[in-house]
């Protein structure tokens, strides 16, 4: 394991001494991010790029919480981002989504509030039967995944806030009752007041979030999409550069020299993979740090961000290894790697938001680490946390593991780890 690490660190050092590589890895994505920021008006105080997302609100609940959620979408804070339309017919709303008339429909079922807030006089009634929990439905438009993702993130945040309030409220009341500080008669009104806060406070679910991270945290910053888009685009350069170094070492004689030292072929290959991984993590990490420092981009949950970066680089490194395993010379890796970088950039949404691409391209984008990575970064930027990243992180890990497996088989078959 130590040798793997030493080889990986050596490769990281070498890549950071290559000026041309540094330009591609760091400078180019950074400058492109700045350029995109100007184009989208991010630096001139303009909109985030994502704006006026059409969403249909079907509020069948017509009670405290249903109204509160509907109010969130028409709130002042989301005025630029959302363009809500009210409807009372779920089927019609779904049809409009299917016809690509809106990004998502939020269907708040009848009895939603009642399923969470018991009616007065029923809480401590021994004969009271709690209603079946009902769920809010977010019917999303698959051809507008980013916009639909924003809608879903807002609803998720609202639901999680309500759930959090219910759990902590009940716990507090039970503690107060068991300690004798609250009697049965007062408990019910206190319980009702707890939930009253959810819709009475001007804090929508969105601004409730701001109590923790700042009001602007949930606002979607286009740079939180552009910066990782560019970083992921050039991450493909880095991983193909790393893969290329395996073939370069073979041609420059250092690979055979490694193999005649007391180092096994699998240690050498593992070390090279680790080097690619280190370089990718360093690249994305530096770009994300730079966008935070220079542009004030807020990336959201730090743990989620760290795990997403690791998973994205792992997925991308798998592609780098596969390209290397299929190539015969460092030059081939460079040219194929550049082509893949651009193709994945387009497919994965680095240049154009996936919403604006045809559905089959959106399906095809699932093979790219760019699409999954961007999905994750967008989720984080919209206030998501690690649990919300399960899907992209899992997909990236599966992608990386699968591609590494194929690459190792090809390496063995083609004898790449021989002189």
């Amino acid at each position: 394991m130590k040798k793997l690490f030493l080889i990986g660190i050596k490769d990281l050092r070498l890549i950071f001494r290559d000026r041309a590589a540094l330009i591609f890895m760091l400078l180019a994505p950074f400058l492109l991010t700045i350029g995109m920021g100007f184009v989208t008006g991010r630096f001139s105080g303009g909109a985030s790029g994502l704006s006026d997302i059409p969403v249909i609100i079907v509020n069948l609940d017509n009670d405290q919480l249903g109204d509160a959620l509907a109010d969130v979408f028409s709130s002042e804070e989301l005025a630029d981002l959302m363009e809500p339309t009210a409807s009372s017919d779920p089927a019609a709303a779904r049809r409009l989504i299917d016809e690509d008339e809106a990004a998502a429909a939020v269907i708040i079922p009848e009895g939603f509030t009642a399923s969470i807030i018991p009616a007065r006089g029923t809480t401590f009634d021994q004969n009271y039967v709690a209603p079946e929990p009902v769920q809010i439905e977010v019917y999303t438009n698959p051809s507008r995944p980013t916009s639909a993702g924003v809608v879903k993130a807002i609803v998720d945040e609202f639901v999680s806030r309500v759930e959090e309030g219910r759990t902590s409220g009940i716990t507090s009341l039970l503690q107060l009752m068991s300690s004798g500080l609250l009697n049965l008669q007062n408990a019910e009104s206190e319980a009702s007041n707890l939930f009253q806060d959810v819709d009475e406070s001007q804090s929508t679910a969105i601004t409730l979030k701001s109590n923790v991270q700042g009001a602007e945290a949930i606002e979607f910053d286009i740079l939180a999409f552009m910066a990782p888009g560019m970083a992921l685009l050039f991450l493909m350069y880095t991983v193909s550069y790393g893969g290329r170094s395996i073939l370069t070492e073979r041609s420059q004689g250092t690979l055979p020299r490694l193999l005649v030292s007391p180092t096994s072929a699998s240690q050498v290959l593992g070390g090279k993979v680790l080097g690619i991984f280190f370089a990718g993590v360093a690249q994305v990490g530096i770009l994300i740090l730079a966008s935070s420092v220079f542009f004030g981009v807020k990336w959201g949950d730090a743990l989620g961000l760290a795990i997403l970066i690791l998973a994205t680089v792992f997925g991308a490194a798998g592609w780098g290894m596969l390209i290397t395993a299929l190539a015969r010379s460092p030059g081939q890796v460079a040219s194929v790697g550049s082509a893949i970088m651009l193709i994945f950039g387009i497919l994965g949404g680095s240049f154009v938001q996936l919403d604006q691409l045809p559905p089959f391209v959106q399906t095809l984008s699932k093979i790219t680490p760019n699409a999954w990575g961007l999905n994750g970064f967008t989720t984080l930027a919209l206030g998501g946390t690690l649990p919300n990243l399960i899907e992209p992180v899992t997909a990236l890990l599966i992608m990386g593991a699968l591609l590494f497996g194929i690459a190792v088989v090809l390496f063995n078959r083609n004898g790449i780890m021989q002189k």
Binding site: K3, Q252, G253, T254, L259, V260, S261, P262, Q418, K419
Partner: protein
């Protein structure tokens, strides 16, 4: 004391082409053994098999009692390898290269740093240790290339044509380094196509050609194979027919053998002076202009010529 290296019927085939055809030899501890042969003779392939990089097609070799085919990891601990081509990271400094390669041989911490300092001193690059290798001259790079092979103090050092393509001064320094290492007790297997290097360095020499070991022994033993003869080398014009001249010299009194190579005719005799006049006369008769004449004492070149009918550089 058993030999540190025993090679038994080592064969390497690439498809139908046999690069090494069943060679066998031993190297004793403390010896400098040279494999002398022209380019493409099978020297590098042999070293590659002995250093466990290539698996032999058949046969085996043991190094310090460990089989290169069955126990390659144990073999790798005993040997050091200086490859023919530079095998360095040019964007790292000499010190960084040495540290990295030392780590690959399991060195670390103070022992590694101490050893790196020693090797830098040995190869004369202490002052420039912090410069990147890509800024070095060819000779300096060669010295770092050798230094890497010495870091872990191997008992048996393989040096594959370490002086190819470098200036005479660096070449001299490398040959002196090899002799120093040997004086310190290191056993060396040295491959070269330069007869002078083999003569200067070797305790014993194996002459290899077309994948076969065609002669083996001390220099004295080898030169005795061609007898106590001298070689008269005539350098003639590009358009002159060396083959015809060599043929015309057959049967001339005291001429033991006459061989033609490019623009040269080698005439072997017990005493070169005895045949000089007759050779010049024959050349004049054929209208061949002699540009210069060398007289050579018996040496490995003559042995190779005698055994193969070709010069080493052919």
């Amino acid at each position: 004391m058993p030999p540190i290296l025993e090679v038994q019927n080592l064969v390497k085939n690439y498809g139908d082409f046999a690069a090494v055809k069943g060679i066998s030899f031993n190297i004793k501890e403390g010896e400098i053994f040279s494999l002398l042969g022209p380019n493409g003779a099978g020297k590098t392939t042999t070293i590659s098999m002995l250093s466990t990089l290539y698996a032999p097609s058949s046969g085996d070799a043991t190094i310090d009692g460990h089989s290169v085919t069955k126990n390659p990891m144990a073999v790798k601990q005993v040997i050091g390898v200086v490859p023919q081509e530079l095998a360095l990271y040019e964007d790292l400094t000499a010190r960084e290269n040495l540290i990295f390669w030392g780590q690959m041989y399991g060195l670390s911490g103070k022992p590694l740093n101490g050893r790196v300092d020693e090797v830098l001193e040995q190869i004369g690059l202490t002052e420039k240790a912090k410069n990147r290798v890509k800024t070095y001259s060819g000779g300096m790079k060669r010295r770092v290339n050798i230094g890497v092979g010495l870091l872990h103090k191997p008992r048996l050092l393989f040096m594959d044509e370490p002086t190819v393509g470098i200036d005479p001064q660096s070449r001299r320094a490398i040959l002196d380094t090899v002799k120093d290492l040997n004086r310190q007790g290191m056993t060396v297997l040295y491959t070269t196509h330069y007869m002078e290097e083999a003569q200067e360095l070797s305790d014993r020499v194996g002459i290899i050609d077309h994948g076969e070991l065609i002669a083996l022994g001390t220099q004295k033993e080898l030169t005795q194979q061609v007898g106590q003869t001298e070689t008269l080398i005539l350098h003639i014009g590009e358009n002159d027919d060396s083959e015809a001249l060599a043929k015309s010299l057959e049967g001339v009194k005291d001429v033991l053998e006459a061989l033609a190579t490019d623009h040269e005719v080698s005439v072997i005799a017990h005493e070169a002076e005895d045949v000089l006049a007759a050779v010049v006369t024959k050349a004049n008769e054929r209208g061949i202009k002699i540009h210069s004449i060398d007289i050579r004492e018996p040496n490995l070149e003559a042995v190779f010529l005698h055994l193969t009918g070709r010069a080493l550089r052919d």
